[in-house]
Subunit: 338 residues, 4 copies
């Protein structure tokens, strides 16, 4: 960290700042130029609130050099993390496609969808049992009955399973039935929930909050990892911008940025990002071509009868077509797709 | 709701759309122009996902006319809601100022701060016991011990109290000690938590999420109100934009907009919006001049030793100055300030 | 257009609104429900400011149905526009790659770069002669001398040329030397400049403004087209969001959206969007996989000595590698690449 | 400027970076810690593109310490700039209100509006002669005839005048008729136009671009000032965010931020920021209470017949009421209002 003093900062001001820094346990190296004084600061900067020094008299600027995240950082662990879920390796050589309905509605809907996506090459089955809805007047999910169906369908078609938990009280039940615990975008900074899934020993799929910076997203991963659970899969699902033609703006550049900053696998969810079926396929292809480790795609056997997010769900035929398209693209990023 | 068909949509397409609408239980009125067909749709639109119709063949656009929120809407209840907390009337004639430290640290810090803000005219004492922090490596709050101190300080200086709950499990304890339950910006769409505070019978201070539209914010209020708790105080605290000089961009226009759309009281939190002490006073004055029903301000007896958000906390002297400034402003908005 | 009256709007209010509409030359169809009155409005809505009716007493909402753009709309012209520049067909079967340095610096730099990008498969040579710079203290371009070099290099290596004009006074000169006139993001709403290039008969490459909605972008195209110049190429180059790791957030979903709304070709500029060389290649691949008609890429023989935007320029070897990658991807979108 | 090397950067990497820095004419001071090497860099940093060093091997981060703007900076000139326009002092003790119609339509409209705003206390008359419109199908202004009317009305009622120029070719004519040249938000980064008004010797009112950061805005002022014209008035008029209830989000915190960073006067335009009459008054009061040096307000004698932006124009009575409200507020910010 550097503390840059203003050009006309007097000796007393400088001493007050140095005293504040040492009181926090930092080592301070003073560098006095012809023009300006700069203080180099060494110590456990990650946990400091740099604004405490910014507001001191005579301080022009405080610059944090080191990243505030540790365990998720690529400087902490150089090699990419590969997460093995029942033999499906997320972050490995193959692009991993997770697919299924937004909400689990009944056995027929789930099994038919699962059969079709498994046949097309999906390796993980998704399906919501607890549904967070913007309006209190909408379908809220099947709960544990949904999770039981999900596990049964996953076993029937040889897929791992992923489903979202919205509250600490749902974790224990979810652990019985699903292979990957999903934390939704709206809960990305629900720190109690993050800490709780940090205690479990199953992979966590952590969606980016719709207004979260990449740094905040990695800090959320840090909450999970600091509890001892290092199996975090990051999922880009669109951020909020002024553009209104799509629900969110998929931030495709997050894919190469995360791969530079962090060793964790990164996948993309074009279904939630766009909210419109006809935009899902182009963006899914785009994310894989940009290097994503996987995709999360909503598929429904009868989207027009879906209880949730039907308009963004692909038909099984479209999903199969998408998988064929992706098989053409993966060699361009030195990946495979089963 | 209106469904606007494309100019070249054929008769079959129109019939398919009408069938889909009636299947959802809507009444449909068809209007065929020389150029284009438009369908007027009547029924319980609030709970519909309009994208279901947008994706049908031949549909150019679907337009929702009625607002999706009900109980919080001014068309549902014309007169403004006034919330009475131990005789302090929020949303009434007087501007209500809530003040106190970001986090409760110890008895001395809290009582000294409380004494100073009470003397200056604050009517509600704020203080955090459970602290949501972006980094897992930072101070996380005193918990129930903090709440006990808060109640004691509130009683000592004749102020109502407000404190944040972050999880359903904290509600019961909080109800014992605080007069107003705060839901933080990061939990504005934690629907389980919203439903839970909808069951209690104490006022809820609901902060706007940092990427929440005004409509989503009112829908979050709707979650609380649909549980039977109509005492919701809305709090603008800044939204995330591309500007980085401040932590968030305080959306001052939310004040008159909410007052038009909703009957609920609206206050503003310039401390969190700006993150910097020297910006708090101008924005606090601005919000009152724009018509806010109240303010939420961080004050600390020794900001430079604060464990949390010290840089955005006012010194007691600054707070007293601010209150004096506000007393000059309130007549311009036909309000009072004790 | 629809004007939705408030539930309690009286007969007089409704009549005032109808009178205002007919005064503007619109036909009005009144529809009175049990609950609410809605007015259907027909006429030349595109040029109306709908807020004029929104502010009338008793009006709840005014909804514009038809798009405000005409000539650029796909409902105006169903088949996609293909722009032929010296035999290079933009918007046709092949993906068209435009490449070259940010700024033209000297003959050696331009010719060496041109040779390398031509050999790798670029069909259009880009190069800036007039450089808009955020700071007045930076290199401002070679002017007409740069344009002469650009034409010479284009001829030498069989490429069409594109360069930006920043002011009406530069158009005439530019027309002598370049095949495609570029309008930069900062000038997307410089309506005088747009009108002026609407008078010329050479293709215009119109970049999206960094805060422009897709609708405003198409309206900017409309300015050019309404002057009689229908050869407009749209170029997505990133929008401004709260994320700061990249200079802008490339809005990849603009590609399929534009292709649905408009018949104009759409290309992408990942160099300006990201501002960082190591992000250009993943995003370039992503845009082509999402269906872009072309790319605009900065390449420099010696990026570390570039006078402008060196950090976002690819080395010639990287560009050749990118072209090889793209050749693997184009079959997935039923396109070719020479 | 600091260049922070990665923890495992080798000696060769460090030397390459130091060589690149010295090649640019910088002085470099190397500081080698137990953990990491940091290079302190001194010289004319303002004109450097720091990304040139960021992309070198082994570089973790480059931190610019000094602000890239100079002439507009408060560290360059401590005392606030006061701009005198015919005796009206902008940035002085009194809050200066500029008011008038969006577009000059005819003599009667302009003179009646001017009379009413002058009587209420406005000191500067605004009126558009060249109208930038998002759609090419809308009213484009009266041109020089409008300017003549503006000068006549200004003289009649003893007000200075302000009007926008959109193109270099309009400057000379505008100088004959107006006292303050306005640069609109869409032209904030039209660098040719900025340079041109830098050559004139009349005050320039520079609106913030709708996606401009405060730093870019000050750099735009720098373009004007580097030409020798130091009379720049900054005008906040709303930025683009995800919120859609208002056209733009007025960034009220820009007022105290500019006052800290720069010595230039700052005013606010709540009319364009909100686009809705009923939001203009609360925001106008808010901006003055936050410390703005002035306001720019649209007023029209018959807003419902206005050719441009009628819905955001105040009625003369509303404007007079607003001025009365402001007179109550100004003592709270130690200002006056005539």
């Amino acid at each position: 960290m550097f503390v840059v003093m203003e050009k006309d900062a007097g000796e007393t001001m400088i001493e007050v700042v140095m005293a504040a820094l040492t009181r926090h346990g930092f080592d301070v190296h003073r560098s006095t130029g012809s023009d300006q004084t700069v203080l180099g600061v060494v110590g456990d900067i990650a946990s400091a609130d740099i604004r405490e020094f910014e507001v001191l008299d005579g301080v022009q600027e405080v610059v944090r050099v080191s990243e505030p995240f540790k365990l998720s950082s690529r400087s902490f662990k150089r090699e990419s993390t590969v997460i093995d879920v029942n033999g499906c390796r997320i972050g490995g050589k193959d692009v991993v496609v997770m697919a299924g309905p937004c909400a689990i509605e009944n056995e027929k809907q789930l099994f038919e969808t699962a059969r079709s996506v498994a046949r097309a090459g999906a390796k993980v089955l998704r399906g919501g049992a607890y549904k967070p809805r913007t309006s209190p007047y909408a379908f809220q999910g099947l709960g544990v009955e949904g999770l039981k169906l999900l596990r049964a369908a996953g076993r029937e078609f040889g897929m791992a399973t992923v489903s979202e938990v919205m509250d600490i009280s749902q974790i224990e039940t979810a652990l019985e039935y699903v292979d990957i615990i999903q934390i939704g975008a709206r809960n990305m900074q629900n720190f109690n929930l993050l800490s709780a899934v940090g205690q479990v020993r199953k992979p966590v799929l952590l969606k980016r909050g719709m207004a979260a910076t990449i740094q905040e997203w990695l800090l959320a991963a840090e909450y999970v990892m600091s509890g001892g659970n290092y199996q975090v899969i990051l999922c880009e699902r669109g951020i909020r911008t002024f553009e209104t033609y799509t629900r969110y703006t998929l931030d495709i550049s997050a894919i190469p940025i995360i791969q530079k900053l962090s060793h964790l696998p990164i996948i993309a969810d074009p279904s939630h990002a766009t909210g419109r079926r006809d935009k899902v396929m182009p963006l899914a292809r785009g994310c894989v071509a940009a290097g994503a480790d996987g995709l999360l795609i909503e598929v429904h056997v009868e989207p027009d009868k879906a209880l949730c997010d039907g308009p963004q769900s692909l038909y099984p035929d479209q999903f199969a077509q998408l998988m064929d398209d992706l098989r053409l693209i993966v060699p361009a990023v030195q990946r495979g797709l089963p």
